[in-house]
């Protein structure tokens, strides 16, 4: 029973190929029409370097916070005796389906200088918009669901018998988590974290509203697009696409190390846990 023998696969393959071509053609076009030297020069200007620096610093801090808070949440979702588990998980999905601009407006109303939390912060002379903190908040909002969902899926896929065995040996929950669950789940988590990082790095709409300044790479790309047209935006576009490809490759390599094939483990299967 080979793949070729089945007409279903032939038809599905053709349909899928159509989608793949649609997805990859724009990126191929970018590679074919690349003006590498000109773009490299454009990315070496002071404002471009500032934007790269801002983006890397903000997304790295955001990544650290997301992992610190998101991985434990994923574990709770997968293993705790939780009431309304599906509701909690659906809530984590919300930022993924809320449009970027709407997310920015919601965050602004909360963390803006006259917002509920923003006002309290500003009495302590802390501003949460138009600075690095604003960027990080925007990135957390849009990207942390990736960490939570991938951690949840990775922990849920750990064979409960292994954890049970550790428990019968008298290990505490913390020990089981550290010795059994985390080592087995980490490739899935790491892949999710990598994707969350690139989602944070590429975040535009929410960031634009929360922190126009200092410019992150996507905001800088938009400013160049508005001020210099397509030619101005291309170098940054190229830079972001390269970073995205790198993130996808890293996520794949991490999974490959442990022999997993799915970038994002099936979620539906363990929803009823």
């Amino acid at each position: 029973m080979t793949l070729r023998a089945r007409p279903t696969f032939v038809i599905f393959g053709l349909l899928g190929a159509g989608l793949l071509v649609t997805l990859l053609l724009p990126i191929l076009d970018l590679a074919v029409h690349a003006d590498l030297n000109g773009w490299r020069t454009a990315l070496r200007t002071a404002p471009a370097l500032d934007a790269i620096k801002t983006s890397l610093i903000a997304s790295t801090i955001a990544l650290f916070i997301m992992s610190l808070l998101g991985v434990p949440l994923g574990y709770v979702f997968a293993r705790a005796r939780l009431r309304l588990r599906r509701l909690w998980i659906s809530l984590v999905f919300l930022p993924l389906v809320v449009p970027d601009l709407a997310g920015g407006i919601l965050l602004l109303r909360t963390f803006g200088p006259y917002g509920v939390i923003g006002q309290a912060l500003s009495t302590h002379h802390i501003e949460a918009t138009n600075n690095l903190l604003g960027i990080i908040l925007a990135q957390l909002f849009v990207a942390s669901p990736f960490v939570v969902i991938s951690s949840f899926a990775a922990f849920a896929n750990v064979d409960p018998k292994l954890e049970l065995a550790a428990a019968t040996l008298g290990d505490s929950r913390w020990h089981i988590f550290r010795r059994v669950s985390l080592p087995l789940a980490w490739p899935g988590i790491a892949a999710g974290v990598t994707l969350a990082w690139i989602r944070a790095l590429g975040e535009f709409g929410t960031t634009l509203i929360m922190a126009y300044n200092p410019h992150t790479l996507p905001v800088y790309m938009w400013v160049k697009f508005e001020s210099d047209g397509l030619a101005g935006a291309m170098p940054v576009t190229f830079c972001l696409v390269i970073l995205a490809i790198a993130a996808v490759v890293i996520a794949m390599v991490i999974n490959h190390l442990k022999g997993h094939v799915d970038l994002v483990a099936p979620i539906g299967a363990s929803l009823e846990g």
């Binding site: 602004l108 126009y212 300044n213 508005e226 210099d228 047209g229 397509l230 030619a231």
Partner: protein, 352 residues
């Protein structure tokens, strides 16, 4: 009326319904009911056929971002009501929009800019592919100081509005959060810089010129749409806006004298004393705020476009009600290229 007649909105609703069905199927684990899908698809196809009917030939209008509320809630619906054509608008910064047309990223039927300079430098001429050869001056606008009446400093701005204190006293009050457009991407941004420099001279108050700080002062500049959103959500105390924006968004505002508000073509020479050079190296001279309208060579629906431009050029009262100033409909670029049906509306030549 427009909402229920417009096939586009029908499609949008169906799309939303379709997405929701998929969404609930995913989250609820329910299998999609096939007959339902078929019904939705049939409606979808019907809507598509309807939208292709000639009765509803659309006019796609790419317009300056500041006009979003005026176009979508005022002019667009009024046009559709008055004619058989439907209106499809898109808001972009004037400069960005013009570059999109030139770079073939957008191909609108009609382009409305908030600055004749944009047409003259980005769209007209063989080096720009002669994408635009003529344009009409449509109306004038002016800068105003919009403010948040519910904010901490609401009472202070009310005083300025009643002209019991000079307007600049509000912005000189410590703690007041003030926003303005980004001069590198938004004509309103550099016009705001002109306003403060002109004000410094006009009031013999040199400190006013430095009130905005550096041109792109990171604590003051925002993209057009964000500036408005920040003020409306109560996160800013005041900002510089066009009068038509303030009216469309029901923002209270303080007016400036015509010597500095850039509203009056009679003060052109006075305004021209100020200038700004964009980071891209374009040198921009102070000038009255004028809206322009043109049909670029990217036009797909000539009939509806001509009707739309004619509608605008004969709607002075409507424009006035949105806060625009009425000016002569002069023609910029090459007046010989103006389409025949529109020539009767030309009221002289426009030279920047």
């Amino acid at each position: 009326v427009i909402e229920s007649d417009n096939p586009q909105s029908k499609i949008a609703r169906l799309e939303a319904k379709f997405t929701m069905t998929g969404f609930s199927a995913y989250f609820g684990g329910l299998p999609l009911e096939l007959p339902k899908v078929r019904r939705v698809l049939a409606l979808f196809a019907a809507a598509l056929v309807l939208s292709a009917a000639p009765r509803n030939e659309p006019v796609s209008v790419l317009y300056a971002g500041s006009l979003a509320a005026v176009m979508e809630n005022g002019i667009g619906p009024a046009f559709s009501k008055a004619t058989a054509y439907s209106f499809q608008g898109e808001a972009q910064g004037s400069l960005g929009a013009a570059r999109m047309i030139r770079d073939h990223i957008r191909s609108p039927d009609v382009f409305v800019s908030a600055d004749p300079f944009v047409n003259d430098t980005v769209l007209i001429g063989s080096h720009n592919g002669n994408i635009v050869t003529w344009y009409f001056i449509l109306a004038s606008s002016e800068l105003v100081l919009g403010y948040n009446p519910q904010g901490k400093y609401g009472a202070l701005f009310e005083k300025a509005r009643a002209h019991t204190i000079p307007w600049y006293q509000t912005l000189e009050t410590p703690g007041v959060r003030f926003g303005r457009g980004d001069p590198s991407i938004d004509p309103k941004g550099y016009r705001t810089l002109f306003l403060f420099r002109l004000a410094a001279d006009y009031y013999h108050h040199p400190e006013l010129a430095s009130l905005p700080g550096e041109d792109r002062n990171p604590s003051q500049v925002y993209p057009e749409i964000v500036l408005l959103g920040r003020l409306e959500s109560g996160q800013l105390d005041a900002g510089i806006f066009y009068k038509h924006e303030a009216i469309a968004h029901k923002l209270p505002y303080v007016t400036f004298p015509p010597q500095i508000s850039l509203c009056d073509p009679n003060f052109s020479a006075f305004y021209a004393r100020e200038s700004y050079t964009t980071p891209a190296g374009e040198h921009i001279q102070g000038a009255p705020i004028l809206l322009t309208v043109t049909i670029p060579s990217t036009v797909h629906h000539l009939n509806s476009s001509l009707t739309f431009v004619q509608f605008l050029l004969t709607s002075n009262e409507l424009l006035k009600s949105f806060g625009f100033g009425i000016v002569a409909h002069r023609v910029g670029g090459d007046s010989n290229q103006v389409p025949q049906p529109l020539r009767q509306f030309a009221q002289g030549m426009f030279r920047p």
